[in-house]
Amino acid sequence: MQPSRQSELELIKLTKRYGNTTAVDAIDLRIPSGSYCCLLGPSGCGKTSTLRMIAGHEDVSDGDILLGSRNITVLPAAARGTAMMFQSYALFPHLTAQENVAFSLKMRGVPKAERLKRAHDLLERVAMGSYAQRKPAELSGGQQQRVALARALITEPSVLLLDEPLSALDPFLRIRMRAELKRWQLELGFTFVHVTHSQEEAMALADQVVVMNGGRIEQVATPHELFNAPASEFVARFMGGHNVVKRNDQTIAIRADRMQLLRTPGQSSHALNATVRGIEYQGTYVLVSLDAEANASDDLSVMLQEAEFFNAPFEVGTSVQVAWSATDAHQLPA
């Protein structure tokens, strides 16, 4: 498990067709060795099909998958150097945690004593050593994730594929296990490809976020770039926290926390008249949603600092002007 392992993953014109529908449409993507990559998008965007093609659980209709210097497009799942962590972990319910981890060694005919020892070592590594004899049903969601990770690691993969690994957990645990995933990735040093529909998850984890929509890649960027310079209206809307405003044949995206609410209309051209529709208290900030006048956008939301809001609270129904500075307006392609 050396970080130096060759684990750069490259997809070339990768395509998946089911009958007449194209789930993944000739995507090109390069995932650098040792990075944490999140495939992000709404359901049906092709992210899961992409992951499953990389894993070898789905036939590739067209295109190639390269891992390091090898073309793995048509290799069987187990020969690719990838390992998959499934959505609900897919631990074998009839086997103990240790037997689950040792499973692939058993398939390869590794003697029982050796495979159980190696499985136990890995379980120790993910702090599950004392649960080795438990069945999956006797483990909590977080513990199951660790066993699933250990099971994936025992094949010494160079890429770990994670299919919505956190969706089976409750919100609190999700945040904890998310941090754990990131820690493991840093510690193990190889490539993680993580499919998720939660932009929050992608932002928290990824070095590289791949936003997908309708079988195509909308944008590949770091979370910071993605949030500050969304490449399309779809990305801006999907990432959230942005207002998409159409002005003078231009579409611009402005971060919700970079907008001001003015009681008395100014003369700025970077402003819209709107009516306060709802107010949501979120703790560190207050989310004010507004109906824009003149149909410039469907709806607006503005995040105000808690203190700022409570100094001079707005009421539902108040007419206000929403303003932003020109430097915060990010131009979107039409």
Partner: protein
């Protein structure tokens, strides 16, 4: 007896929690169990200790029926009639079990994992139940024109010059009995095994593939253990039916083959109720032991 234990276990904690209402709710089924299961069983047990002459039953408590059943056993180095019958019945039971399990598992596997659409699964499943549209006896008898001396199979074998004269072993033989058992009872294996298989998370098969398991390894290490409940239930069905069977063995064996069920039936028809009851009790004990051993056996396999 085996069926009463779980009821007792489950109703006890419920009663502690819910009180009289729970008992009331459990009462109808409990009453049915009591009337049609426990009472007859207790009666048979009681009658098996009664005494009898040619013309009357005498309530008593005597082990004489049991002694009579095993009379002569182990005396001449040869097996007594009872033991011989048990060996023969067990042989049929084992053959029927092995074949129904093999065929039933294969069919269930095909239905559960190879048939993609639910509609097709339903259609094929109904197809499996078609034989049940006619009675047991009709289904058995319909083998006769096929397997008889001048039946279709013999005609074909002769016309293909594979044999020179009609084969006698095809009908009214151990072969035809086992064949009929398989024909009649495979569905009892298919249904519970199919049920278990449908509950297997398909992601587990992918996980096995990901771990490098071959299809056979997946079958043996994932599907078989996870179909365990279905296999046990199906086996219990087949074993209990075959162990007590006398109709199939009678019809398909040409009334020439002995079975434990047949002994009980004959004794009943001669009104030797205590003797028949004693035989029934022994048979019940035997079947329970097989089932117990079976559940053990499947458990042990997992430890290997």
């Amino acid at each position: 007896m085996s069926a009463t234990t779980p009821t007792a276990k489950t109703s006890a904690p419920a009663a502690r929690r819910a009180g009289p209402a729970a008992w009331l709710q459990a009462a109808p089924l409990g009453l049915v169990f009591l009337l049609f299961f426990i009472v007859p069983l207790v009666l048979i047990l009681a009658v098996s200790f009664w005494d009898a002459t040619e013309y009357e039953l005498i309530p008593a408590f005597t082990p004489k029926n049991y002694i009579a059943i095993f009379e002569g056993c182990g005396q001449f180095g040869d097996l007594c009639v009872t033991l011989k019958t048990y060996v023969s019945t067990l042989k049929f039971c084992f053959l029927a079990w092995i074949f129904t399990l093999g065929i039933g598992f294969t069919v269930a596997y095909f239905l559960a994992f190879h048939v993609r659409t639910v509609a097709m699964q339903t259609v094929l499943f109904l197809l499996c139940t078609i034989p049940f549209w006619t009675s047991n006896v009709i289904r058995m008898i319909s083998w006769i024109p096929l397997l008889g001396r001048n039946g279709l199979v013999n005609d074909m074998l002769i016309s293909l010059r594979l044999v020179s004269q009609p084969q006698e072993w095809l009908l009214f033989s151990s072969f035809s009995v086992v064949l009929a058992f398989i024909h009649l009872f495979t569905i009892f294996m298919i249904v519970p095994i199919f049920n278990s298989m449908m509950r297997i998370d398909r992601a587990l098969l992918e996980a096995a593939l990901d771990a490098g398991a071959t299809p056979w390894q997946t079958l043996w290490n994932v599907i078989v253990p996870l179909s365990r409940t279905g296999i046990i239930i199906g086996s219990i069905f087949v074993i209990t039916i075959v162990m007590g069977d006398f109709v199939t063995i009678g019809v398909m064996g040409g009334q020439q083959i002995a079975s434990v069920g047949k002994i009980i039936q004959v004794q009943t028809s001669y009104l030797q109720f205590p003797l028949a009851a004693a035989n029934a009790v022994i048979l019940l004990a035997m079947v329970l032991m097989i089932i117990w051993a079976l559940t053990r056996l499947v458990d042990i396999r997992k430890e290997l």
